[in-house]
C-alpha cells in the first residue's frame, strides 16, 4: 500500500523495492513466462476483435448502469435475494456488518474480492467483533501478514516459500518445511476447518448477469464454491460495473479473463449462482443471500466521457504483468489497493488524490499496458490526464511549470537550447560529445551517472537545412520533415542520414517547416497539459498538412504523440479539428516511409556483414504498431540479429528518467544485458531518446557496442 507523504519518501520506498531481490526475480520470471503463456492461450483467436467486443459491450453496460441495476434487483429479489446499493465504501461495510448481526453470524469465510479490498471490509468487520478468514491461499497468506495484495490475480507473488513456511509455523504451532506442495496442503487442512465453522460466506463477483439475476465467480482453487456453499449466509459484494445485460456478455469476458490474467484457457472453477440455493446448514434448508452493489464513485465515473472507460476493467491484472516498472518494484509500490496501470488510475478515483499523486508520476509511458488490456482501456493516456489534473488541483511544481512556459514560446526555447551549447562547454568531456558532469541546477548529478548524456550539437539541423535541402526536379511525393528537438539540436546527424537516403531516390521533395517546435510530449509527461495543447496547435499550424503527402519523423515518441495524442489534445478546437485529423493521418516514421512507401531496394546498399541488434522503441512498436519495417530495413545493409525482449522499454521515458533515475538505470541495465547477450556489433533503434539512453549507458559502462539510429546505419552503407 502506498503511504508516502512526500515524493522523496516515495522515491526512497521505490529504491528499497528495487533492492528486494526475491521479488525482482519472481516478477521477472513471471513477466517472461507470461508473454509466452498468453500467446499460447490466445493462439488462433481474433484477440483484437474480442477486445473490441468487450470494450463495446462494457461501454454499453456502463451507460446503462442504473437501468441494469434496477433490472438485476428486480430479478434477484423475485427469487428471494436481498439486493442493496451502497453509495460509499463505508456504507457497503456497514450493510454487510448489519447482515452479519441480523443473522447472528460470528465467523466469516471470504473468497477473494478486490472490491472488498477497495472498501477495507475486513478491518471494518473485525472492528465489529467478527472473525474474518480469507480462503484464497494468497489472500490468506497476506491477511495473516497484515498486508494488501501485490497483484490483482496473484496477491502474494512478492513472497517466498520460506516466508510462507515461517508464517505457517506460527499458525499451526508446528515447524514447517518450505516445500510448496506441502505448504499448500497445510493450508487446505487449516482452511477446511474455517469453512466448517463459518456462518457467513463473503464473495466478490466477476459478473452480475441481469437477464438471469446470476452472480458469476471465477476461481482456480474452488474456494468460492465452498465459501458460497457451506455457511448459511452468503453476501456478494459487487462493483456496479460488473453488471452485464446477458449471459453472453459474461461468457465473452470469460474468454479473455483467464487467458489474459495467467495464460489459462479457463480457470478450474467458474460458478454461476442464481438465487438462494439449497443450504442444509440453514434452518429451512435455504441459503440467506444478499448482493451488495458498490457505487463508491462509479456512477459519477460512468458519466465522465473520458474516464468512464476505466469501468471496463475486468480485473485480469495483465497491465501489471507487462509493466516494466511494476516488474521492478512490485505492487505495494505500484498501486495502493488496485495495482498496476489500472491501479494508478483507480487509486485516484477510489482512494483519493493523496494516495495517487506520486503513483501517477511513476509511469514511463511505454504503452505495454494499453496493448495488453482485455478491454482496450487507454491506460497510459489516462494516467497522464490524472497527473495533469492533480497538478491543476495542487499547483504545478516549479520545474514543470517553467518547462511548460518555455516550450510554449518556440523562439525562447530554441534560443535557450542554442545558448546551452555555450553554457555546457565547461561541463563537456574533452571530445565534446558527452557532458562530463551535469550542472547541479538541473538535476542531482550522481543519480544520473549511469549514463553519459550528450552535449548540444555545434549546429542545429534547422540551421543546416538550407545548405543540404536536396534538389528534386520532378517529385512524385512531397514530404515535410518533423525533427523533434533532440534530432534538431542534439543529433542532427540522424536527420542528415535520413535526408541522404531519401534524396538517393530522387523522387521526393523534402521540406523542413521552420516554425515547427517540440512535439510537446515532454510537457505532457510532466502533467503540463495546457502547454502540450498549445505546442500541438503551433505545430499543426506550422506544418500545413494539405501541402504534403507525408509528415515524416525519425523520433518514435514524436511520431506517436503527433499521430495519437494531437487529436485528443486538440479535440476542443473545432476550427482546427479537420486539419488535425489530416495532420495525424499523414504522420509516418522513417522506417515505414523508406521500406513501405518508397520501397527502397537492398540493391542500394553495400552489405556490411555486421551483426546488428534492434531495440524497438515503445512508441514505435506499440505506439504506431510498426514492427517489421525497421528490422527489414536493417537487413538491407547488415545482418539483423534478434535479441531478447526487444520490445521492452529501455527506461528513457524523457523526463521520467530524470525523476526516477533508479528505475531508469535498472531498466537500462537489463536492456544492455539482453543486447550484450546477442553478441552484436551495434544496436539500431529509431528514436533519439532511446539512442541517448542506450548509447549513454554503453558509454558509461565502457561497453563497445555502437548505438545508432536505423537511418545512420543505412546511410553509411549507401552505394
Amino acid at each position: 500500500m502506498q503511504t508516502a507523504v512526500k515524493i522523496e519518501e516515495y522515491l526512497q520506498e521505490v529504491e528499497e523495492s528495487l533492492g528486494n531481490e526475491f521479488q525482482r526475480k519472481a516478477l521477472d520470471t513471471f513477466a517472461v513466462a507470461y508473454r509466452t503463456g498468453r500467446a499460447n492461450a490466445f493462439a488462433g483467436m481474433d484477440v483484437k476483435g474480442l477486445v473490441d467486443e468487450i470494450a463495446q459491450a462494457k461501454d454499453d453496460g456502463i451507460r446503462r448502469m442504473d437501468e441494469l441495476y434496477n433490472q438485476f434487483k428486480q430479478k434477484a429479489e423475485s427469487m428471494g435475494v436481498h439486493v442493496h446499493l451502497a453509495e460509499t465504501a463505508e456504507e457497503a461495510n456497514r450493510i454487510i456488518a448489519r447482515i452479519a448481526k441480523d443473522n447472528d453470524c460470528k465467523k466469516v469465510i471470504k473468497a477473494k474480492s478486490m472490491t472488498a479490498e477497495e472498501t477495507h471490509l475486513n478491518t471494518h468487520l473485525e472492528a465489529e467483533g467478527l472473525k474474518v478468514v480469507e480462503s484464497d491461499l494468497g489472500e490468506w497468506i497476506i491477511q495473516m501478514r497484515g498486508e494488501g495484495p501485490s497483484h490483482m490475480v496473484m496477491p502474494a507473488i512478492h513472497l517466498s516459500r520460506f516466508q510462507v513456511a515461517d508464517l505457517f509455523a506460527g499458525v499451526t504451532k508446528k515447524e514447517q518445511d518450505p516445500d510448496i506442495p506441502k505448504l499448500v496442503k497445510v493450508a487446505r487442512r487449516e482452511l477446511r476447518k474455517e469453512y466448517v465453522e463459518a456462518d457467513m460466506g463473503i464473495s466478490g463477483s466477476n459478473f452480475a448477469v441481469v437477464e438471469t439475476g446470476t452472480i458469476g465467480l471465477v476461481t482456480n482453487e474452488g474456494n468460492a464454491r465452498l465459501a458460497t456453499t457451506l455457511p448459511r449466509v452468503h453476501v456478494a459484494l459487487v462493483g456496479l460495473e460488473k453488471l452485464t445485460p446477458t449471459l453472453h456478455d459474461a461468457l465473452r469476458i470469460l474468454r479473455a479473463l483467464p487467458r489474459n490474467a495467467t495464460g489459462q484457457q479457463i480457470t478450474s472453477y467458474v460458478t454461476w449462482i442464481t438465487g438462494p440455493n439449497e443450504c442444509k446448514g440453514a434452518p429451512d434448508d435455504k441459503k440467506v443471500m444478499h448482493v451488495v452493489f458498490l457505487d463508491n464513485g462509479r456512477k459519477k465515473l460512468a458519466k465522465d466521457k473520458d474516464f468512464a472507460q476505466i469501468l471496463r476493467c475486468i480485473r485480469c491484472g495483465a497491465c501489471a504483468n507487462v509493466c516494466p516498472v511494476y516488474r521492478l518494484v512490485g505492487g505495494h509500490k505500484y498501486g495502493h489497493v488496485y495495482i498496476g496501470a489500472i491501479g494508478l488510475i483507480m487509486t485516484y478515483f477510489f482512494h483519493g488524490k493523496d494516495k495517487a499523486k506520486f503513483l501517477v508520476q511513476n509511469c514511463v509511458n511505454c504503452g505495454a499496458c494499453k496493448e495488453v488490456c482485455a478491454a482496450g482501456i487507454d491506460l497510459p493516456r489516462l494516467i497522464k490526464e490524472i497527473h495533469a489534473m492533480i497538478q491543476d488541483e495542487d499547483g504545478h511544481p516549479a520545474q514543470s511549470k517553467l518547462m511548460g512556459l518555455v516550450l510554449k514560446n518556440r523562439t525562447l526555447f530554441h534560443t535557450l537550447l542554442k545558448n546551452m551549447r555555450w553554457a555546457q562547454k565547461p561541463f563537456a568531456e574533452r571530445d565534446g560529445q558527452y557532458i562530463r558532469h551535469l550542472p547541479t541546477v538541473f538535476m542531482k548529478d550522481k543519480d544520473q551517472d549511469f549514463r553519459k548524456l550528450p552535449t548540444i550539437a555545434d549546429k542545429a539541423f534547422r540551421d543546416e537545412w538550407k545548405s543540404i535541402k536536396p534538389e528534386v526536379r520532378n517529385p512524385t511525393l512531397r514530404v515535410a520533415l518533423f525533427s523533434g528537438c533532440v534530432q534538431d539540436f542534439v543529433y542532427p546527424e540522424q536527420m542528415k542520414a535520413a535526408v541522404k537516403i531519401i534524396a538517393s531516390t530522387g523522387t521526393v521533395e523534402l521540406d523542413y517547416p521552420m516554425k515547427q517546435s517540440c512535439c510537446g510530449l515532454p510537457v505532457n509527461m510532466m502533467g503540463e497539459k495546457q502547454a502540450a495543447v498549445e505546442v500541438a496547435r503551433q505545430n499543426v499550424l506550422a506544418i500545413d498538412p494539405s501541402k504534403y503527402d507525408y509528415i515524416m519523423t525519425m523520433c518514435a515518441s514524436c511520431a506517436s504523440h503527433l499521430k495519437h495524442s494531437y487529436p485528443k489534445l486538440l479535440e476542443n478546437d473545432a476550427d482546427l479539428a479537420p486539419k488535425v485529423a489530416q495532420f495525424a493521418d499523414k504522420v509516418i516514421d522513417f522506417s515505414s516511409f523508406i521500406h513501405d512507401v518508397l520501397q527502397i531496394s537492398s540493391m542500394k546498399f553495400n552489405r556490411s556483414g555486421k551483426r546488428i541488434g534492434y531495440h524497438a522503441p515503445c512508441h514505435l512498436c506499440r505506439g504506431l504498431e510498426v514492427r517489421e519495417a525497421p528490422r527489414e530495413a536493417i537487413n538491407m545493409a547488415h545482418d539483423y540479429v534478434p535479441t531478447s525482449e526487444e520490445e521492452v522499454c529501455c527506461g528513457f521515458g524523457g523526463s521520467y528518467s530524470m525523476k526516477f533515475p533508479a528505475i531508469s538505470k535498472t531498466l537500462l541495465a537489463k536492456k544492455m544485458a539482453n543486447l550484450e547477450a546477442g553478441d552484436i556489433a551495434a544496436v539500431a533503434t529509431d528514436c533519439p531518446g532511446c539512442v541517448m539512453q542506450i548509447r549513454g549507458g554503453m558509454k558509461a559502462s565502457g561497453k563497445d557496442i555502437e548505438v545508432k539510429h536505423v537511418a545512420e546505419l543505412l546511410a553509411e552503407r549507401l552505394r
Partner: protein
C-alpha cells in the same frame, strides 16, 4: 458429436491434468470408479494435508473421517445408483448419496454425471443446485465424472442456449469444472488440490 470435438476436449482436459478415458457403457464407469477407489489408500489421503504438520484444531477434523473407503454419488438416477451400489458393495466401498456435510474432512471418490461438456476448454458443466452434489465434487479427493458424448459442445457459446434455461430456473448453482483444484499462489509454482479434488477423472461415454 464430431471426432474433432472429442479430441479437442481430451487434449484440453489433459492439459490441465485431468485423466480422460473412453467408455461404451455406464457399467464401465461404475467399475472404473470402484477400481480407482480401491487403488487409493483410505484415510491415508496422501495429498489431502492430514499427514502434514497441521495445527491440533485442524487435525481434529481429520479424526472425523470415516474409517471406510467412501464414495459419494448424489443425484444419480435410481437405477444407476443401484448399479453403482452393487459394484461398490462387492468391493467393500461405502456408497452414499447424501449427508455430505458430515464428511467435510474429505471422502475418497465423488461420482457424478455431467450435464454438458465444453470442448474448447475441456470443461465439464454440472448443475450443482443440490448441495450434496456441490459438496461431493469439492470434498472428494478424486472426482470421477461421466460425460455423455451427446452432451459435448464446441464451446461455451455453443452451449449458451442450454446454459441459459438452467440458470433461469431459480434457484440454480451451475459449475464449470476444468481440471483439478489448483493454485499458483506460492512462488507461482503450480500445486494441485488446494481446496477441492486432487484428481479429476473424466469418462467419455458413447451414449448414442
Amino acid at each position: 458429436m464430431s471426432q474433432e470435438h472429442i479430441e479437442l476436449f481430451t487434449k484440453k482436459a489433459e492439459a490441465v491434468s485431468a485423466i480422460v478415458k473412453r467408455i461404451d457403457k455406464l457399467n464401465e464407469a461404475y467399475a472404473y470408479a470402484v477400481d480407482v477407489c480401491l487403488n487409493k489408500n483410505a484415510c491415508q489421503l496422501l495429498l489431502s494435508g492430514c499427514e502434514n504438520a497441521i495445527s491440533d484444531e485442524a487435525s481434529d477434523l481429520c479424526e472425523a473421517k470415516a474409517a471406510d473407503k467412501v464414495m459419494a454419488a448424489p443425484k444419480l438416477a435410481d437405477d444407476q445408483y443401484a448399479e453403482l451400489a452393487k459394484a461398490a458393495e462387492k468391493a467393500g466401498v461405502k456408497l452414499i448419496a447424501d449427508g455430505l456435510r458430515n464428511h467435510l474432512a474429505g471422502i475418497d471418490i465423488g461420482f457424478a454425471v455431467a450435464d454438458l461438456g465444453l470442448a474448447e476448454t475441456g470443461s465439464l458443466v454440472l448443475d450443482s443446485s443440490s448441495e450434496d452434489l456441490r459438496l461431493s465434487t469439492m470434498v472428494s479427493e478424486i472426482n470421477v465424472v461421466v460425460l455423455p458424448l451427446s452432451k459435448l459442445r464446441a464451446s461455451s457459446y455453443e452451449a449458451e442456449a442450454e446454459l441459459l434455461p438452467m440458470m433461469q430456473k431459480a434457484p440454480n448453482y451451475l459449475a464449470f469444472i476444468t481440471g483439478a483444484s489448483r493454485t499458483a499462489d506460492i512462488e507461482r509454482v503450480l500445486a494441485i488440490g488446494v481446496h477441492g479434488p486432487l484428481e479429476l477423472h473424466i469418462l467419455l461415454w458413447e451414449d448414442a
